[in-house]
Amino acid sequence: MKLLRLAPEDTKFPFMRFRRVSYPFSAVLSIASVVLFLSLGMNFGIDFSGGTLIELRAKSGTADIAKLRATAEHMDVGDVEVQGFGAPSDVTLRFGLQKGGDAAQEVAVSRVKAAIGDGYEIRRTEVVGPRVSGELVQSGTLGVVISIVAVLCYLWFRFEWQFAVGAIIATMHDLLLTVGFFALTRLEFNTTSIAAILTIVGYSLNETVVVLDRIREMMRKYRRMPTDQLIDLSVNAVLPRTVMTATTVFLALLSLVVFGGQVIRSFSIAMIWGIFVATYSSVFICSPMLIYLGLRSETVGTAPPAAGKLGKASA
């Protein structure tokens, strides 16, 4: 049987030469992400902005969005966003926090439910009060920060400091670009998006670690080789694996996007973006960073990295 190979055998791509392109390219994308984040902002779901989401399904036929919009104007709950949601019979209503604290939200919900009438089945109701949404923002941010710090510690312990710094810069890059992606696509940003971001952080580090592991191994083997050649050699060596794994994860995620339903679609789309960015950054951002950080083969110990590093400063 002839087996499929996506990546050709024994590639010798000069990846490190691309750093003159990839760094400015990533810098532009990162800045664009920040600008997008600051100008457009995120399309925060009610988890973070507070407010109410009601998902409806027309009991017969398709949902009449125009009519629902007209009804919504007389509900006296502020602006109501009426949107189709997957199937033509499905629609979501979303409105912001009501004045008057937590108790006022419930009152608004009953008013809206009464106004919608009998033609629709209420499939989902989510009400997040002002206090809870504030806390969700806090714990979400905290989660992302803590995970980065924790992984930094692990990498510092397992590898040379240059590796840890490179990995963190690559991860931050992925994080920024993911945020920019959310801002640009207007994908709803909610608590599952935090899960997506943390998973992207995990995946990005996973990719980075696989490449770094190989670089370290090569450095112990070829102690005289210039760093950029050595990194090229390592990246080419793990390239088949990188392509293969990115593809299997992509296939799994693609099936989630197509078949997994509306509720987790934004999660799955963000994850797909994440694996592309993470794969790119592990090769084009993290690895060249080691050159800039002045890593040399001679500085990498033969013994486990934590020990045996001292007294081997480069000549």
């Binding site: 087996l3 499929l4 190979r5 996506l6 399904r57 937590d102 108790a103 939200q105 009953s110 499939r123 989902r124 109701t125 989510e126 009400v127 009060g129 206090r131 809870v132 714990s139 979400g140 989660g143 803590i146 995970s147 924790a150 992984v151 692990y154 397992r158 608590t191 599952t192 935090i194 899960a195 943390l198 998973t199 952080v201 995990g202 995946y203 580090l205 996973n206 990719e207 670690v209 696989v210 592991d213 793990v238 694996r241 293969m244 794994t245 299997t248 994860v249 992509f250 296939l251 799994a252 995620l253 693609l254 099936s255 197509v258 078949f259 997994g260 339903g261 509720v263 987790i264 799955s268």
Partner: protein
Amino acid sequence: MLRFATWKIVSILAMTAFAVLVIVPSLLSPENREALIAHLPSWVPARAIVLGLDLQGGSHVLLEVDSASVTKSLIDNLRDSVRRTLREEKIAITGGIGVLQRGVQVRIPDAAERARVMPKLKQLAASAASASADGSRVPAFDVTENESGLVQFTVTEAGVSAKIRRAVEQSIEVLRRRVDALGTTEPNIQRQGEDRILVEVPGLQDTGKLKEILGTTAKLEFRLVAEPGADPSETESLDDTERPGAKLPVEKRVMVQGEDLTDAQPGFDSRTQEPIVNFRFNIRGGQRFGEVTSENVGRPFAIVLDGKVISAPRILGPITGGSGQISGRFTVEDANKLAILLRAGALPAKLTIVEERTVGPGLGQDSIDAGKRAAYVGAGLVAFYMLITYGVFGVFANIALAVHIAFIFAGLVLLGATLTLPGIAGIVLTIGMAVDSNVLIYERIREEAHQGRSILSALDAGFNRAFATIVDSNVTMFVAAAILYFLGSGPVRGFAVSLALGILTTIITAVTMTRMMITLWYRYKRPARLPI
């Protein structure tokens, strides 16, 4: 490479069999599951997997004890005791008892009287104390007095937070009785954080009723309607539900409270056929009600529920039987609900709904179907791709993948963890990532073979060299999942659990199990060259 201990093979096969056994009950219909469980010995953990509310449908309601209302009730109670004490001791005060934002004040101009009553007042402040978290008793009020005879009671932070803690505990009991009365299956009611209560009710259709039942304090009071010319500081005007928009002046003093009720049942008035609620007092309540009604024949009294007058009948004669009825403009539904609330008792404080998430059963089922479809298609695609890329080694990886999925489900069942929609997404994601370990190993084997090693030595080197990388890369992923678990809530937590379990099981399935299969394959086949 050729040596693979028999005990390892046996234990891997045993673990796989056990995992399959554990997940079988979840795959059966509820009836078959019951039948199976009845036939199995008790040590077999034959449980169905727990589905999250987003999959089985249901309501998740987060309630918060209103600290302002807790403070107010502390202050009101103190005011009542101060008034009683001053009355009993016949102390003259000027200007009545003032209620402040955070306390009570009273002016006792006469220094001698003040000196006489102060110890008693201080004792009141101390007895309003409540047990704090570490069990020590903290005073709920600070007491100060000044030269001009002004005595001030200020509520303390420790006092309020201890009271909130107690209120949460009592509320959980009350809410449990109320929700049980709705007749739903397995509601989950638990404390969350300092001042919150999480109520999870699976499969309930009418969430409006649930929220009313959760959010109503149901504080019932019997008070006399104030007579014209009564001291205004002793009375207050309450909304009269019988005459919308109108107010009725009633005495602040409470004759009998809802906590003195022993039973409440909905019924119909024998004359008017209106829905009513029949109730019975306990002995203390019955006596007290008997006394008050005999002393006040001819006066109207008000039945007050949560600060609103439901009805204000006239006392026609002493009511000493220890029972009575509440009429109002009830529908049958109202009467039923009020009876449930009165039986379950009043909440010690006002509860506010701060978060609600309700998923209808239709959407839940749709999510299960969508999740299943995504998992089948995802697994199918990955398996096919592995097969066409690695041939017979791909088959090994796919067998390991199947066992991996069985392990995740078995892990969820054994941990009693909840499967949510993001949890399913996590499993689908780990399907894509589980093969990463296989890929790392296979690519390494190819590479080693390429550099001229013999098949056996390439296999050996591939497994050994890839292992360090597999551990490193999985640790980083696991850290992210663990943090997500501790900070996330509800469905997101489900995602973290699936992801973490998936990472742990790949080490067993992708590394050890694949190695076992390749070893056995090599021993049997003795291939001349690698098939990848």
